[in-house]
Symmetry: D2
Subunit: 397 residues, 4 copies
């Protein structure tokens, strides 16, 4: 605790409102995805791990472990049909008993044979119908599980020049969004995800934030944009996009992960932790501004990764802690000093305010925050010592 006291003193000397920082950390949550607890891989191979959950209930049990040790993951995203079941109320109660709730509902528009040339953008109206019906089915599932969010990734696209009619496909997509919008309750929202490429390799129908934004504006106020950190071309300034969408009231959710190359789906914060911090810096700036506060405070933070070689639950804990670390550092930015530097054109001064917050070691703070919440200060160690990893193996028997 000496370390923390010294840490706190130094922050207070700099003008940090420690209580505000702590309260923000106490209320900060990140959603984990049910599919993050099972096997996943690349197109080259799926390396099978032991003790994998066999259904949505076991996935929820695993997710509950992450919440138990981090204290910040009370909701779980589900994916239809991977988590399909005949009794969603049972899912809801099972989750509730574990201290969890169902978060976003994710339709799947990429795994049916009919979707070979697209789902809602397919030239065949029968396929489009099937895809739209699946979307509205997901609204029912959301209602049944208590979820308020449809997280919508349109995986449609083409592989070759000429293969599809860009503008017709755009119209078809708008029709699907419109129908989905009508099916949704007024207190639900849809998050429109974009992605540059993959699984299509020539064009993607929602290729970038600009398209997702345009679709969201046309669809109406229930629609916002979802930013997946791995879905941009190299070199794109994501924090700038986040600020832009915040300003427009259309920043709705995140899929956290990290990449060095394409949509690598590695642990968030493991490749470029500064980028993650800079994104949170914009989000907190948005929370502090009355014009953008409401949008900023309602953003859905979600993990979406593919742990091909890592043990699943530890990888998820690591991911969540990395997000918490970035968030904590961003809370420490001296915003008054930053604004002064900006106003007087002090480039190096402004840069220093940001960088120094990032260079601050927030581990003393986070340990105290966890203790205040009744958690072990080292969630990873506590989990690994809990025996759950061994217990999971019984599933294979």
């Amino acid at each position: 605790m000496d370390e923390y006291r010294l840490w706190e003193k130094r922050q207070k000397d700099k003008g940090t409102d420690i209580e505000w920082v702590k309260s923000k950390l106490h209320s900060f949550t990140v959603e984990t995805p049910s599919w993050g607890y099972g096997d996943s891989g690349t197109r080259f191979n799926v390396f099978r791990q032991q003790g994998m959950p066999r259904n949505i209930f076991e996935k929820l049990e695993d997710a509950a472990q992450v919440n138990k040790f981090t204290g910040m993951c009370p909701s779980v995203a589900i994916h239809i049909p991977w988590d399909k079941t005949d009794d969603y109320d049972k899912v809801r109660r099972f989750a509730s008993d574990l201290g969890l709730k169902i978060g976003s509902v994710n339709p799947n528009l990429f795994q049916e044979d009919e979707y070979r040339l697209g789902s809602v953008c397919n030239a065949d109206p029968a396929v489009r119908r099937k895809a739209i019906d699946h979307l509205t089915e997901c609204v029912h599932i959301a209602r049944a599980t208590g979820s308020k969010t449809i997280s919508l990734w349109i995986p449609d696209g083409t592989n070759y020049p000429g293969q599809g009619d860009f503008r017709k496909r755009k119209e078809w997509l708008l029709e699907a969004l419109s129908e989905l919008n009508s099916a949704m309750d007024d207190d639900m929202r849809m998050l429109i995800e974009y992605k540059t490429f993959e699984p299509a390799f020539y064009h993607t129908d929602v290729a970038d934030w600009g398209m997702a934004y345009a679709f969201a504006v046309k669809t109406g106020k229930k629609a916002q944009v979802l930013v997946d950190l791995g879905h941009h071309p190299q070199g794109v300034n994501i924090e700038h996009i986040v600020a832009f969408l915040l300003d427009e009231g259309k920043m709705g959710g995140f899929h956290f992960n990290n990449r060095k190359y394409a949509d690598d789906d590695l642990i968030v914060g493991s490749i470029n932790p500064y980028e993650l911090f800079l994104i949170f810096n914009e989000l907190i700036s948005g929370e502090l501004d009355p014009r953008t506060r409401n949008t900023a405070e309602n953003i859905a933070y979600m993990i979406d990764q593919s742990h091909c070689i890592e043990p699943k639950i530890p990888a998820m804990i690591r991911s969540v802690l990395n997000v918490q670390t970035a968030y904590a550092k961003a809370l420490l930015v001296n915003r008054q000093m930053l604004e002064e530097c900006r106003n007087r054109g002090d480039v190096l001064g402004a840069e220093a305010v940001i960088r120094e917050a990032f260079e601050t070691d927030v581990r003393p703070l986070l340990q105290v925050v966890r203790q205040e919440a009744g958690l072990d200060p080292d969630p990873m160690k506590a989990y690994l010592q809990s025996g759950y990893e061994e217990k999971k193996l019984e599933r294979d028997k």
Copy 2:
């Protein structure tokens, strides 16, 4: 002519409407920029060439040569203050006597010392005022020269995290656009250009088409988006963006050039000619669709390149001819067959329709079109033999 007759027969057998193709080619025009006739270079060096024009009048003389031999460059973009003069009516008349008119007027927001930290997005209101005044000055120049287009590149951005407030800068930019909009006549339009990076290296205030589009929508119907082919991250599908903007009525103009790496500003069509063809394929599709025809037919096609090592006028002729070649090939796409392939999900068939149009050698066609227009069938050779290159050298005396 045997060659052309055989070529024409083969096209007619495929169902091509040759007269329509020719009429499109006869009316197709590309604007060249005044600054393309003078020295330019990289940050490492500007290699000085001989016979460079010393003022806007000599630049217009050079531009007139390109129009004389290609028959498709009747307008010239000007750049303020590079082409500043005290008698714009004289410029207009001088151009007219050369068979030219003044095309887009390009404000310069990057070469004043005050713009070190930005122009219309500068934190200093006095700098913003100066920048906006320059924009409205350009409207006056447009009026005086008979131009109807303000081609607006906002070079503002920051070099370091923290340096600028993204959202405040967005507001300032909107204010500037609004004031410019008010200053413009109803029959004028502004083309908002976007660029990923350079001269700023951390963030650019109008970084991508999505931002330019959002600014154009907010500014109103006089505002559209300008696509510069070199202003995207690697891997971006430009023809898809073009189709999207067309569909939204916001596709306003092009800056043609080509790049392998960043904003290399090489001769259009010299690095990836297929991409240029695919862009024109979308534009012609837009012209043929009643919903997008008006937008498509009013697009301003402009060259914007930096010929660091090439002779200026030949490089411009080469550029214009490459654009014409891509356009001609795109006119040959069998759109009925394309639609049939798309409708029946014939991926390879649709791809073949597009690729085969590209593989067609259009030189026989273009030679005939030029002859019909009273031009030499080989504009480059004709120019080089005209003696103008030698005559230009007198400027150095």
Copy 3:
């Protein structure tokens, strides 16, 4: 034939040695891979097609169709263990009866559970042993099938900073290459492939041509580099690398495909046909230079693609024809004029020589070359009309 005669005349006027061009085309071959005839997909899904071959024999039957209609694909690459069998002599005879021979043998170091953290670069010596044994097994299979080529893709790498020791892994890899080298006959060669990323996402042990080259130099004269067109970062000039490797005597083989983003494995020549042409331009330059001729003439040209949504055999025919088209265009480059332009510093002249060869429509030439070889001038159409696609469906019964 009028068209060809006119075409030929025009080429002869330009100084093209048509007989040489034709003889090059008649002897040009491209290897197709056995795995290209079965289902493949992305990490998101494998769309199952009908009539898929069930074993190496049926794959050879499909490959024989491609050779039958294109006349240029007499060898087939095999992949172990996908094509594993207990009687390789039978495979060899079966192929021979179809007019085929077995081309390169491709070891698989990515699909065993033990390879989760690498194969020949794994920290566990037992795994490395297993992997090396597989490599030497492939030498035996090569001997048994009459193949002279081991095509070696090392898929090893790490997903996170710190995960592996770069330099130790380099040593382990060298040991494996050395052992493979010793196992190989003197008239065999190994082709070392490189790849920037995937399936590993932080580092790949043979990440670029420079590493593959260094490993090939250390391994000895049996080792050369294999260039897969999709295995580079965006913006890399592949034709330059090809020329460099040629000059060093280390250019050994190609995996042809095309990409817009990452290792998209689309049909070669479908996204950037000019790049493919420019690569062949270097290869032909290498064939004409006594210093590099031997290397250039022994390059193994192979298709390596993933046809996720296309019918398999037509996609392979399309690929092979696109390679032939690029090769034919490159044969037409006027190399004497090119050298003259280069020597006098005529940038636009040199560029024009190259571009004009690319702009030439080689379809009249290729049709005649096919007829001379007893083939149908339109291989795709002839194949589709042959009834083989329908016959294949019997496999599903």
Copy 4:
């Protein structure tokens, strides 16, 4: 000091050898470039700053300030002809009086009109001769100034397909390197820099580390590779290249800077500080390994940036401090624990060892190290308060 004592205790508990860390920090040096003290810009503009040095002597005075406050910049790179003078012995003595020595000598092969189409790779033998003479002139200057290093950037390349003969240019380059090598003393070395693109935009004659490595191997033991952090395509794993070159004994020097897009030349560590840390992690690993120690300990660390909008001396101080920070963090990596994790295949464990060293706040350590060296613990603040910035302005009078 309480903070440091606590910091030290925590490190000792983890097994860190603090004295070794401090000794490494005390002997660590970074070279600054003379050209970093004058105006620089982009191709769009050079914003002029006040108080700029007017010659090599004033640049050395500025460099001495950076050394005075950071204690780690005792050598200064010079650039010929920018720093050309008729009395290099005077330069040497002037530097010595300031506590400085002349570091690397940098030839300039890009600013003469003759170099428009290349210098040592120019098709014109007279231009090649001129370029080689300049290289050997730089050896004389190195001798006269006491420098032992020729830092060689070959800016040659082409802008268009066809423009140059890749393989001939390679031969010409080798001839130049050979002649330079012969001119150099045995205790001198040449560092061969590579760069993907710019100022040439189609191909660069030394485009990547593989080419620089091959040229260095052929040239002989005096030649090594120089890694500029901004000279790679997007996504390249630089730390892997560094480890590879170290292992080959060819890692010779660094040009430090940072980029988000292309060769942005921003302050090192300002955009991706984790990457800088990971590079140092490999370098320290190399220093600790007897096989690579000699190479690692002789690496020339140099700043090479372009401060377009920042005040020059503060930007240089910031850069040097960022390098020191990354180096200090890399010294804290627990290498024993790292190796254990790697050996047992503990992916998350190994990653944690690396990440946690990076997350450690090294400011308490660096402040103590500076105090031990008789420096102000806050070099930036101390410099800004020193009055030198104001004194510099007298140069403008």
